[in-house]
């Protein structure tokens, strides 16, 4: 017999893991982990803005993630400051700005920990609908641009030679990533979302021979991590978000040991 909140947590987590799998694979291939981190950090500012303006904080988070992605897409065009520096500056100034702005929110006790590390057990039906609709949209667009985006990832020169709009695809991918991260924070939090994106993808790399296998494998590893994390949280009473990340990391270690064993034989 499953409690309602547990059922919602599992549903939300599984949905998110399925969306994060293919996106995580692209993030690993394109070396954009730090970019994902930066988007997540900026989401806290979205929480504060949402509370100050009086709109839904989920909307606030998604909106600030999208805005940060746009600012970064423009910022990266200049080359005077390295893009990792630009990312670091944006990540931490938006995080700081978010914390300061939260101090101005009056009368509402904000559970910052819930935003930093996620609160999957508090996922409600609306959250699940948002995840389902937003996730379906993000995955649909990703499938639609899969082949050209992969070509851009392999070689921008080859892609450009064959009239693939390299810059436009990069921008669309960044915006989709912002959408996914904005939706994911409720579940695993600002500090852990990047892990849910990259760790399952890294595990899937061991067993994949094609990009598609790796993307699907990442979703499978992600779902397994979510289930294991929630189970851990349920039985040992650990915080759910970190438990999911620990499970993902555990699966990665297990995969690498299995792979070493296979190679030896």
């Amino acid at each position: 017999m499953m409690d309602d909140f547990l059922f919602r947590a599992v549903t939300g987590g599984v949905l998110l893991a399925c969306v994060c799998g293919p996106f995580g694979a692209f993030i690993v291939w394109r070396r954009m982990a730090f970019f994902g981190d930066m988007l997540a950090h900026s989401a806290l500012l979205g929480v504060a803005l949402g509370l100050l303006i009086g709109v839904d904080v989920r909307l606030g988070m998604i909106a600030t993630c999208l805005a940060s992605a746009l600012i970064l897409a423009i910022g990266q065009r200049q080359s005077r400051i390295g893009s990792d520096t630009v990312l670091g500056m944006l990540a931490h100034s938006t995080l700081a700005l978010g914390m300061v702005a939260l101090a101005f929110v009056q009368g509402v006790a904000v559970d910052i920990m819930a935003y930093l590390f996620g609160d999957i057990l508090a996922v409600n039906v609306t959250d699940i609908w948002i995840l389902a609709a937003g996730g379906a949209f993000a995955i649909a667009v990703l499938i639609w641009m899969w082949r050209p985006l992969l070509a851009v990832t392999v070689s921008p020169e080859i892609a450009a030679a064959e009239s693939i709009p390299v810059e436009r695809l990069r921008l669309i991918f960044m915006l989709l990533m912002a959408l996914v991260i904005g939706m994911a924070i409720k579940i695993v939090g600002v500090l852990l979302i990047t892990a849910l994106l990259i760790v399952p993808a890294a595990s899937a790399r061991f067993f994949a021979r094609t990009p598609e296998q790796m993307a699907i494998g990442a979703a499978v590893f992600g779902v397994a991590s979510v289930m294991a994390g929630i189970a851990l949280s349920w039985h040992v009473d650990t915080p759910a978000g970190p438990s999911i990340v620990i499970s993902a990391a555990g699966l990665f270690v297990l995969s690498s040991i299995v792979m070493m064993g296979l190679r030896r034989n």
């Binding site: 291939w29 082949r147 992969l150 020169e157 080859i158």
Partner: protein
């Protein structure tokens, strides 16, 4: 004359204070084979990126024929270990093809055995063969080859040049070949453009010498695929590639190039430091 496949007009580009392209104009006609030679650091790859539309010039335009199909073969394609990719999957990177079509083109370039191998496990020569197989699948009107034999040993280079010759004969496409090597140039080149941040000179290679050293090095068959284009420059470059002295020259091609080649080598050594 019909409209060119692709044309660069007055392309100028600077990175910071350094001018990498200076008023570069060139155009490629359908079926034409053009070889672009120049020393390392001459901006050849930047010019190609600009022509492909990846790099925006500060001024000047690139005009592409509508719907032009370009096949691009890079110097060296480094597919990251982190991205799993079989040769078969790579061949279908930008458009779908059946397995048997992939087998056919791989057979044509003598690389049928690697179809299920991972791209990251290929040797330099195998990797370039796969790139050429991809070009065959694509059936481009213009094949752009950016120093396609880098990282391949000398006898492998001659073999690759012969393959490129075969492919060009089959597809009947235009070819833009980039090379830093003054000696290895396709025999059937229609036009040689000497490039060092600007177009130094361009012309028709009037003699393809049958140099005995090449013959002995590559064997008769391979030597036929290789032409030698030598010429005399009428202006000098300083180490950063700027033209020294006046440019009022007649661009003649009386071939015998020893002094300038030497100069380029010196410059290469300088830029690779």
């Amino acid at each position: 004359m019909t409209a060119p496949l692709i044309e660069g007009r007055g392309l100028t580009l600077s990175f910071g204070s350094e001018r990498v392209l200076d008023q570069v104009s060139l155009s490629i006609q359908a079926g034409e084979i053009m070889t672009l030679i120049g020393p390392n650091g001459a901006g050849k790859s930047t010019l190609v990126k600009t022509l492909l539309g990846l790099q925006k010039p500060d001024s000047g335009d690139v005009v592409r024929k509508n719907g032009l199909r370009i096949g691009y073969v890079p110097q060296k394609l480094a597919i990251d270990q982190v991205l799993p990719m079989t040769v078969k999957r790579f061949l279908t990177l930008t458009r779908a093809a059946t397995r048997s079509a992939c087998e056919t083109v791989l057979g044509q370039v003598g690389a049928a055995h690697v179809i299920d191998a991972q791209m990251s496990s290929l040797s330099g020569g195998e990797s370039q063969r796969v790139m050429l197989a991809r070009a065959l699948l694509l059936r481009p009107e213009l094949l752009v080859l950016d120093e396609p034999t880098q990282g391949v040993d000398v006898s492998g280079q001659a073999e690759l040049y012969r393959l490129i010759d075969d492919i060009r004969a089959e597809l009947n496409c235009a070819v833009l070949m980039i090379s830093h090597d003054l000696h290895l140039v396709m025999a059937k080149t229609d036009k040689v453009v000497c490039f060092n941040r600007h177009v130094c000179c361009s012309g028709i290679p009037d003699t393809v010498r049958q140099h005995p050293e090449y013959r002995s090095l590559f064997g008769v068959r391979e030597a036929d695929a290789i032409g030698i284009y030598t010429h005399e420059h009428d202006h000098e470059h300083d180490l950063s590639g700027h033209v020294v002295g006046d440019c009022g020259h007649d661009h003649s091609h009386d071939h015998g190039h020893s002094h300038h080649h030497h100069d380029h080598q010196k410059q290469e050594a300088e830029t690779t430091k």
